[in-house]
Amino acid sequence: MRTKEQRAAAWRYWPRLLLIIPFALVAWVPFYNRIEPTLWGIPFFYWYQLAAIILGAMVVMGVYFLDRRAGFAADGADRRSEQETDDGTGPGGAL
């Protein structure tokens, strides 16, 4: 049995369920296996999948930010350990 705290901790990760969206965008082939409507002469099959790359990237980025916010809202001990290993502001910063 999971304790209440464990359930709350798991709930913290709900935004990750959104990561199913990129898969859903391309999973059903008959949906995008068509030529019309074309965009600047590019068949639907091609421009839709190129657009799906951008949508997928936006979903992953959104999950990243939601995840981090949830991370900061969580208990202090967790946050401290996150910052120690995870802040990327150590020597070199972004590089």
Binding site: N33, I35, Y46, Q49, L50, I53, A57, G88
Partner: protein, 512 residues
């Protein structure tokens, strides 16, 4: 093919520049390169930007730039599977690999086999993981040479016979030398140069070429209608639909199990760096989508009907489509830039792959079975030497054995590497799976996958699975890993009772 002097001068100039970059990389973020994690993982200190270039250079190889548009050029829509594939890899990267990074960092793991050894306390399973990684990566390195050889040939060098291979051998000697001295720092720095050249080339290509061919509408009008979309299901077969999506999903699941991808991931400085890159690397996917479209531009430009290129197509097949397109569309000096981008695009992954193989061999074979108590310096020295051996092996492979074997082995490599998914995924996210069951699952998955590819004569990885009268053609890797998972789930509880299992070393694997 005519020898193109201007293009060759630009090409050689850029090549010399990255050679210099490769050697000075040893002094970048100076550290003791006699430590395996410093030489082979860049000290795990790469931040978001460097990791972006490193992983981008690692995953999108020269062979990708040649083979994906070649597939689109040859078979059409099916070749576009690379796009849903790159859409699926990033959620997987985001969810699974930060966790592996955390454990690897804490325990000092350098390879996937290190992790499996620690998590399941089974040296057999670790051996299986290490061997699979080695065997799957070797032909991949050889394929990078194929990509390089096509552009060297397109510059007008005669690549037949031994003398024809000299440019390739020189390029690989340079690669071997700077990998030896600088380790993972070299491809990380060179990847920055490579990406600048690739982006420059692609942006020029998507602007200049459609303008010359009369716009995107004209390009797609020139492509035969049958090539533009996938063949819909007919009768009792799902046709190309199931093949398309299983190929994308199977390739996506396999990608980060390759040793060279893991090397890139483990060299990141934090979990957050990996997560940021899961979003940011999509920019690269978009570039790949555009590169795939080059195949159609080559059809519209009629490169295969140009008598100048007849020789090239005869020698390299559809792989010659993109070089031929660049030769027709760009001025000589820019052809040099574009070809250098592709050739340097071969150096980066080849370097990382050979480092990954060296890490695997040293950690999981040499140290495990020959010299358990070897010093850190000896470990690093062995890894450096192995990285040389691996590259010599790749060159010999390409020179001595027909190219088609390398392609077939790489195809099998994808099927083999995906069998590492159960131990790593179940190891990271569950408890209580039996190491013996995982080993049996791995063996069965490998056997089934190899059989499926063999039944297609090793030329295609699409296996026509019969399910109750319905034929579902799909990627053999995905089918075989399903068999693998099934065996693990069924046998794990059984074997837990029969064989007393050793306690996992990793007691807190459920920690987030």
């Amino acid at each position: 093919m005519n020898f193109d002097l201007t293009a060759t001068i630009v090409f050689v100039g850029l090549f010399l520049f990255v050679t210099w970059v490769g050697f000075i990389a040893a002094r970048w973020r100076k550290a003791d390169l006699d430590q395996l994690h410093e030489w082979g993982l860049g000290g795990r200190r790469f931040g978001t930007v460097v990791t972006w270039f490193l992983l981008g250079g690692d995953l999108y190889t020269a062979y990708t730039f040649i083979a994906v548009p070649a597939l689109v050029f040859g078979v059409g829509a099916m070749g576009f599977f690379a796009v849903p594939y790159t859409i699926m890899i990033y959620p997987i990267l985001f969810l699974v690999f930060p966790r592996l990074w955390t454990i690897a960092r804490r325990e000092g793991h350098v390879t996937a086999a290190d992790y499996v050894r620690y998590r399941f306390n089974s040296s057999w399973l670790a051996l299986a993981v290490a061997m699979t990684g080695l065997v799957a990566t070797m032909p991949y390195i050889a394929l990078q040479l194929v990509g390089m050889e096509v552009v060297i040939g397109a510059l007008g060098f005669d690549t037949q016979g031994f003398t024809g291979h000299i440019p390739l051998i020189i390029a690989f000697l340079i690669l071997a030398a700077f990998t030896y001295t600088s380790g993972l720092r070299a491809p990380a720095l060179i990847a920055v140069v490579k990406d600048m050249l690739i982006f420059l080339t692609i942006f020029a290509a998507i602007v200049v070429i459609p303008a010359k061919l009369g716009g995107y509408g004209a390009i797609f009008d020139a492509v035969p209608k049958a090539k533009l979309t996938l063949k819909p299901p007919s009768g009792d077969s799902l046709g190309e639909f199931s093949a398309y999506i299983t190929l994308a999903l199977g390739s996506a699941l396999a990608l980060f199990l390759y040793p060279h991808s893991l090397t890139g991931i483990l060299s990141a400085s934090s979990r957050r760096v990996i997560r940021r890159n899961a979003a940011a690397l999509s920019a690269y996917s978009f570039i790949l989508g555009l590169i795939a479209l080059l195949g159609y531009m080559a059809i519209a430009a009629g490169v295969d009907k140009n008598p100048l290129h007849a020789d090239g197509f005869e020698r390299y097949g559809p792989n010659f489509a993109v070089p031929a397109l660049f030769l027709d569309m760009f001025p000589s000096w820019f052809v040099g830039v574009a070809f250098a981008a592709i050739a340097i695009g071969a150096l980066v992954p080849a370097a990382i792959m050979s480092i990954a193989c060296a890490n695997l061999f040293t950690r999981n074979l040499y140290k495990e079975y020959w010299r358990p108590h070897c010093s850190d310096a000896e470990e690093a020295r062995v890894a450096k030497i192995v990285s040389l051996v691996v590259k010599v092996g790749a060159v010999v492979f390409i020179l001595a054995i027909p190219q088609s074997y390398a392609i077939q082995l790489q195809l099998l490599g994808g099927i083999w590497i995906i069998q590492l998914l159960p131990p790593i995924l179940l190891g990271l996210f569950t408890r209580g799976f039996n190491a013996h069951a995982l080993l049996l699952g791995w063996a069965a998955g490998t056997a089934v996958g190899t059989y499926m590819a063999a039944s297609r004569g090793f030329v295609s990885s699409i296996y026509p699975l019969e399910v109750m009268g319905l034929t579902v053609p799909g990627y053999a890797a995905l089918y075989s890993v399903a068999v693998n998972f099934l065996i693990v789930f069924v046998l794990s509880p059984v074997l837990d009772r029969l064989l007393k299992q050793r306690e996992p070393l990793d007691q807190d694997s459920n920690r987030r």
